[in-house]
Symmetry: C2
Subunit: 110 residues, 2 copies
DNA sequence: ATAATTGTCAAGTGGATACTTAAGTAGTTT
DNA sequence: AAACTACTTAAGTATCCACTTGACAATTAT
């Protein structure tokens, strides 16, 4: 089955949840199985599996099942779409600040 | 009223919503009033105000009311907490990849 | 074969939340 | 003063979503 395109929408929604961020942080330490992932989190294994689905569909995590063990790891390129979105916003408003000193609208700052 | 500390949790949750991202994108073009912000979005003005509250509490947007008009603008440092979180994750797993070649899933390591 | 491990799936629940409507406030214009 | 503009606030609704339970499947160990 073809892997879904990781949109900024999917990715940011995925990262918006604390449990999923905890999973990302754990996975940053290295690949690990589902049940070992679940141990430190105080949610059930089933919940962890659901989070992993979201993370996988958003392109943040890759998993592979061998035998009865599913091993999860970070998908290194997954966060780049967020980087890009942020960079785009920043370039927009920074570029704007270059062109016109916006003291008119904002006398207080800068 | 002291401004709340913008945690990574607040910020990523705020950015997880498409309407709020649309607001961020519009604001990247420059400061604008609430009602003009609402025009292109097909949600009510009241909904926009609620989103703006979330964005402001997360430190992504700053607003200022003069007369009866509230002007909204990007808070330039607001996204840095996301940058930092991403950079931290990346440095973790990249550092790890430097140290040990991760040949295949080796469950009992270290 | 039996049991234990590791994960999967379906269905349901409770709480969060995005949104609407409607009424109200406070500046601004005429 | 009256009308209009630009929000603001409260309350209700409906959907979403994180999480649980419980039954099941598949692999590995005894």
């Amino acid at each position: 089955m073809p892997r879904k395109k990781p949109s900024i929408d999917r990715v940011l929604h995925a990262l918006g949840d604390p449990s999923r961020r905890a999973i990302m942080e754990k996975l940053s330490q290295g690949p690990i199985s589902v049940s070992r992932l679940a141990e430190p989190l105080d949610i059930t294994l089933a919940a962890v599996v659901q989070h992993l689905q979201v993370l996988e569909e958003s392109g943040l995590v890759q998993t592979e099942k061998v035998g009865r063990v599913r091993t999860c790891r970070i998908e290194p390129g997954g966060l780049s779409v967020v980087d890009k979105w942020i960079a785009d916003r920043r370039s927009m408003w920074e570029h704007r600040l270059d062109r016109l000193g916006d003291f008119l609208a904002d006398p207080d700052e800068e």
